[in-house]
């Protein structure tokens, strides 16, 4: 089959690889009908995530048709149309029992690597390094889905792929980022990053009762979508001092909650960016932390900072003094997607939201390399690329 393969930093190739097969009794094989390039795939593309190998199949946002199931999968049948959550979760361990699916204790066969880095291991993830399991991803014609009795969600025929594909990751990720803010009536929420997760965080913050959402970015086309489609007010951080602007917009209080929807490759229009860039180049830190620092400083006393952007290692100049002395709450985590898929599917069916509003480009799988470059470089007003294998 054809698959999108990581061949090194900034090198993507669509190659012929062996078809996946059932290995374990809870496996299923899915013929991928739609798959997307995620913002976190850019961290792989840019070489920020360790333990990638040449030839690794990428992709953790995908959906399709079930074409084979293992003997222990009784909830799915061949022909079912499913969306696959990006965390691989067994559904039976202590973490899964607590609905903390992205912390599944049984799905990462290379857990020892993650334990060296983080103390304990999270779940395995499709197409996201060997430290997180080395599972081939879904930017391919077919994908093997472990624990298919737990993860994949059957979706109704009347909804298009475009409407439900993002249940695999970014819609639940934006939603969980907003849910972690414990939004109360009258709250003002600030969201850093108007990429796909940021757009869903804005929309979700409104769904959860936020009075106002302020979004921060520098790309006008992304801020326009945030204003017109998600309903945010926007700040261009290249033209405006974000701290002063949020202070002004909140009557001097600061934002009740701040969401980091950017992560480890953050950019800023000030000296902090040069500082982080220099330190990451010298391997003296692994993250560019400008957004999380700014989010902490812009949050009101006693507020919440919710981190949805991906971080992988160690950052410098983390303002712990502001967190402690101002009673801030920091919440984070890889998304427990399984927990959110059905409720968010209901919201799509009810017409509360049509997630397809973020799609700007559709390309064939064969053009994955061009797609990665376009998405990473934000060419042609690219916000979200959906790829079709057929």
């Amino acid at each position: 089959m054809k698959a999108t393969c990581w061949m090194g930093r900034k090198r993507i190739e669509v190659r012929d690889v062996p078809d996946p097969a059932i290995i374990n009794p809870h496996d299923a094989i899915v013929r991928v009908t739609s798959t997307a390039i995620c913002g976190s795939d850019v961290h792989l593309y840019d070489g920020f995530i360790p333990t990638m190998q040449r030839g690794d199949v990428l992709g953790h946002e995908f959906m399709g048709e079930v074409v084979d199931v293992g003997p222990e999968v009784s909830n799915l049948r061949v022909g079912d149309r499913v969306v696959v959550p990006f965390p691989i979760a067994c559904g039976r361990c202590n973490m899964c029992s607590r609905q903390l699916f992205s912390l599944c204790e049984n799905s990462n066969p290379n857990a020892w690597m993650a334990e060296q880095m983080w103390g304990y291991s999270p779940c395995g993830i499709f197409g996201y390094s060997h430290m997180l399991g080395g599972y081939p991803g879904g930017q391919a014609e077919y994908a093997r889905v472990p624990f298919a009795d737990v993860g994949p969600l059957r979706v109704p025929e009347e909804l298009t792929d475009d409407q439900v594909l993002f249940l695999s990751d970014i819609f639940p990720t934006g939603y969980m980022a907003a849910e972690q803010c414990n939004i109360q009536p009258g709250d003002v929420v600030a969201v850093w990053g108007c990429g796909p997760v940021g757009q869903f965080a804005i929309a979700s913050a409104y769904m959860l009762g936020a009075e106002r959402v302020i979004a921060i970015d520098r790309f006008e086309y992304r801020m326009r979508i945030a204003r017109e489609r998600a309903g945010a007010e926007t700040i261009n951080y290249e033209r405006t001092n974000v701290y002063e602007a949020i202070r002004e917009m909140t009557g001097g209080r600061g934002a009740d909650a701040c969401i980091d929807a950017v992560g480890m490759e953050a950019h800023a229009a000030n000296a902090w960016h040069l500082y982080d860039k220099a330190k990451t180049m010298m391997m003296m830190e692994t993250e560019r932390a400008v957004v999380v620092r700014e989010a902490i400083m812009c949050c009101r006393n006693g507020g919440t900072v919710s981190i949805a952007g991906v971080y992988g290692g160690f950052m410098d100049k983390f303002p712990i003094g502001a967190v402690v002395n101002r009673s801030l709450t920091i919440r984070s985590g890889q998304t427990h997607v399984h927990r959110y898929m059905r409720p968010l599917l209901n919201r799509i069916q009810n017409g509360d939201i049509d997630p397809s509003f973020i799609i700007t480009h559709r390309i064939p799988l064969d053009a994955a390399a061009e797609g990665y470059a376009m998405f990473t470089n934000k060419e042609d007003e690219c916000l979200k690329i959906v790829m079709q294998a057929a």
Binding site: I23, N24, P25, H26, T51, Q53, D56, E72, C90, R92, C93, N94, S97, E105, N106, S107, N108, P109, N110, A111, W112, M113, G124, H130, G133, G134, Y135, P136, P146, F147
Partner: protein, 113 residues
Amino acid sequence: MQAQRIGLGIAVASLAGVAVATLARPRHSERVSKTFTVNRPPEQVAQLWLDLDLLPKVENVRFDPAPGGRGTEVRVRFRPRLMGKLRKTSVQEQLREFKQLAETGEIAAGGAL
């Protein structure tokens, strides 16, 4: 000549340091303990331990109820070896596989590095 003596002194001191560090490390013949929690009741875990027989050379194994009814704490003690299935890392991975089998009935299969 003086430089040679100094060089010899540094070399002897380095060797002595390495020797002390080596002796100070835990010996492989010392017993070590590994523990993990399985999300199933103790009697089921104990029975499965016997049935699967993954680590027959482990000297001692205990099955205690985890606090709050959250499964079973399994503690094994063994004398690690430099080679074979009783290497520390090998035991750790076999215990992880036992937990996977006990909780899910299968061993996770992704991609090796």
